[in-house]
């Protein structure tokens, strides 16, 4: 009995702590999800219904907001532009970031530290402060008002963190793997491609997601660089739904729902890798 008595407080304490943690986490996810739920609900209501009954359950068979957004506006064009700009930037960030990170991490050279510091400097520098010289630069390169202006800008913004993440991870891979591949007859690009990169998927997922979300949602650079409607991205395009005098809130929410969907799905698809990458090295 005495052993039981001495054990029970020690056992009960973590349980109550776990319970409290669950309560906090559930409350937190409720706060996080609530605006999303309201957005999705409102997408199925007319503007009148939204103001009449803002929190009520909509009739999910009413999809006219979606059909109008996709049929009567330039939404499909904006959507395509967002995919092209985000996709292009992520591909460039991953390809260049991985190559740079690999070189910094796996080869010994006196300039390595300098190069890494150069990339890290990019992390400290908010590019938005340099928007005027950037604008002039892009104008002189004849890139203004094109998707490339956004892709190049986002790549530049995303590279430092990608290099940082990739270099940190690649450095932790055992050198013996490289040696083994070298003896097996693999060339240097082959070692990177067939041996190291398959192991580097978790950090690549991190670099992809943490860059994709802000790029997808960015409003500032499209606003500054893009004038032609054909090249506008979703966040900028959605503002056209807000009229000077009237706003069709139902359509706006439908547009927002469509805009938020891909990145949410991407996150869900990559979340396992994402969490794996965050905890990589924590447990052997």
């Amino acid at each position: 009995m005495t052993t039981l008595a001495s054990h029970s407080p020690a056992e009960r304490q973590p349980i109550s702590f776990a319970f409290l943690a669950q309560v906090v986490l559930i409350a937190n996810s409720f706060i996080m999800l609530y605006p999303v739920v309201v957005m999705v609900f409102s997408a199925f209501k007319s503007t009148g219904e939204i103001f009449e009954n803002p929190f009520g359950l909509p009739d999910f068979t009413q999809v006219q907001n979606f059909t109008r957004v996709l049929g009567e506006t330039s939404m499909p064009t904006y959507f395509m532009n967002s995919i092209l700009v985000t996709g292009g930037s992520i591909i460039l960030i991953l390809v260049l970031g991985t190559m740079a990170g690999y070189a910094v991490a796996r080869y010994e050279s006196r300039t390595n530290t300098f190069i890494l510091l150069f990339f890290l400097a990019g992390l400290m520098l908010p590019l938005k402060l340099a928007v005027i010289p950037l604008f002039i630069l892009l104008r002189d390169m004849n890139l203004l008002d094109s998707r490339w202006s956004l892709i190049f800008t986002y790549t530049a913004i995303g590279l430092p963190s990608a290099v940082f993440i990739m270099a940190g991870f690649l450095r932790s891979l055992p050198a013996e793997l490289e040696d083994a591949a070298r003896i097996d007859g693999a060339s240097e690009p082959r070692i990177m491609w067939s041996v190291m990169l398959p192991l580097a998927r978790p950090p690549m997922a991190i670099a992809a997601i943490q860059n994709a979300v802000p790029i997808w949602n960015d409003f500032f650079f499209p606003l500054v660089f893009i004038q032609t409607d054909d090249y506008k991205t979703l966040p900028q395009g959605l503002t056209t739904f807000m009229g000077e005098y009237t706003t069709d809130w139902g359509m706006l929410f439908a547009g927002l729902t469509i805009a938020a969907a891909p990145i949410t799905l991407l996150y869900i698809a990559l979340s396992r890798q994402f969490i794996q990458g965050m905890t990589a090295g924590a447990v052997k």
């Binding site: 055992p174 793997l177 040696d179 083994a180 591949a181 070298r182 003896i183 097996d184 082959r190």
Partner: protein, 356 residues
């Protein structure tokens, strides 16, 4: 298969010399073990044979070809690493076939050779597994399979057993030895474990501080160590060393005891010498016996088959290995009598100058 010859090879990392002029000849089909304490340069030497480290000066030949500037893949070698270095994202079969795939060997040939190697190592049921699904011993075997599949001229092993538990180590030791006897491929094997070296090698190269201390067959090194370092390194428990001064009638020890010598070193009387005697060559005698070393029992370690005794004597610890069980107690006063004709004498520089 090929012989390997290493000629005056040196290696420095920056200004720090790691290998300071090494000459080793390895015959075709020989099993050679590089052994030495950590930091002696044995792994670096192996990596230089593999081509993973540059050579600062000297020549390494595999067969008749100088390979100093030949990249690892063209040296026709295979290496087994301490961590096994299996590719984690490939199955056992893919791991083993990787080098063949890079060489452009046909799919059927790859499959045939992988299956052949797998069968010889008992890996056939594991071919579709990933390294993370294997035990330490199985991973070790896959690493060996990856080497065998290539059918190289030289096998290189870098401390392949040090990540295994003691029991598995003994059985893998046997397997590697058996493999070598079957394939007869020239093998260079690095270890810090002198038991591995003694049990497996045709020839042992003892290294220390970047130089070769002695090269020879295991029992040659055991019976005729060139110097004090080899004498102390080879053999477990290690050889006992006792300081003394050469006198007409023997060696005068610090305790005042005089040990008779069966040999006559060519040095003047009153020279300070080191007397080396292996633990199994010390016998227990009653305290006070003449021509013995007085000692006090300090630790008794029975292992069942024999008993290791650590005693305090001559201002330090001496080890005695008894083949029979003993009834000694802690603190008991005894005397140690060296078995005649088993002692070595070393001069002040550590060179062996006489054996009885």
């Amino acid at each position: 298969m090929a012989n390997v010859s290493i000629r005056d090879v040196r290696k420095s990392f920056g200004a720090t010399p790691v290998i300071r002029g090494v000459d080793v000849d390895i015959q075709d089909g020989e099993f050679v073990i590089l052994v030495g304490p950590s930091g002696c340069g044995k792994s670096t030497l192996l990596r230089m044979i593999a081509g993973l480290e540059d050579i600062t000066s000297g020549d390494i030949r595999i067969g008749s070809r100088v390979v100093n500037d030949v990249p690892p893949k063209d040296r026709d070698i295979a290496m087994v690493f301490q961590s096994y270095a299996l590719y984690p994202h490939m199955t056992v079969a893919e791991n083993m076939a990787f080098s063949l795939r890079l060489k452009g060997t046909s799919k059927e040939e790859q499959k045939r050779r992988v299956q052949e190697a797998a069968a010889s190592l008992g890996l056939t049921p594991l071919l579709d597994r990933y390294p993370r699904q294997l035990s330490g011993g199985q991973r070790q075997r896959v690493a060996m399979g990856r080497a065998i599949v290539r059918d190289p001229q030289v096998f290189l092993f870098d401390e392949p057993l040090s990540n295994l538990d003691a029991k598995l180590r003994v059985s893998m030791r046997g397997e590697i030895k058996e493999l070598h006897q079957r394939l007869k491929t020239t093998t260079v094997y690095v270890t810090h474990d002198q038991i591995e070296a003694m049990t497996m090698a045709d020839k042992i190269v003892v290294m220390h501080d970047g130089v070769v201390e002695q090269v020879g067959a295991p029992l040659d090194l055991y019976d005729r160590p060139a110097n004090r370092f080899v004498a102390g390194f080879i053999g477990s428990p290690a050889m006992n060393f006792i300081e003394g001064r050469l006198e007409e009638n023997g060696l005068a020890l610090r305790s005042g005891a005089i040990l008779p010598l069966d040999m006559r070193p060519a040095v003047p009387i009153a020279t300070m010498l080191t007397y080396g005697i292996r633990p199994e060559h010390l016998q227990i005698a009653p305290a006070g016996t003449p021509e013995t070393i007085p000692a006090t029992v300090s630790v008794i370690e029975p292992t069942g088959s024999d008993t290791t005794l650590i005693v305090k004597a001559e201002g330090g610890n001496l080890t005695v290995l008894l083949r029979e069980r003993c009834a000694l107690k802690y603190g008991e006063e005894i005397a140690l009598k060296p078995v005649p004709f088993q002692a070595h004498l070393f001069d002040e520089a550590g060179r062996r100058i006489a054996s009885s």
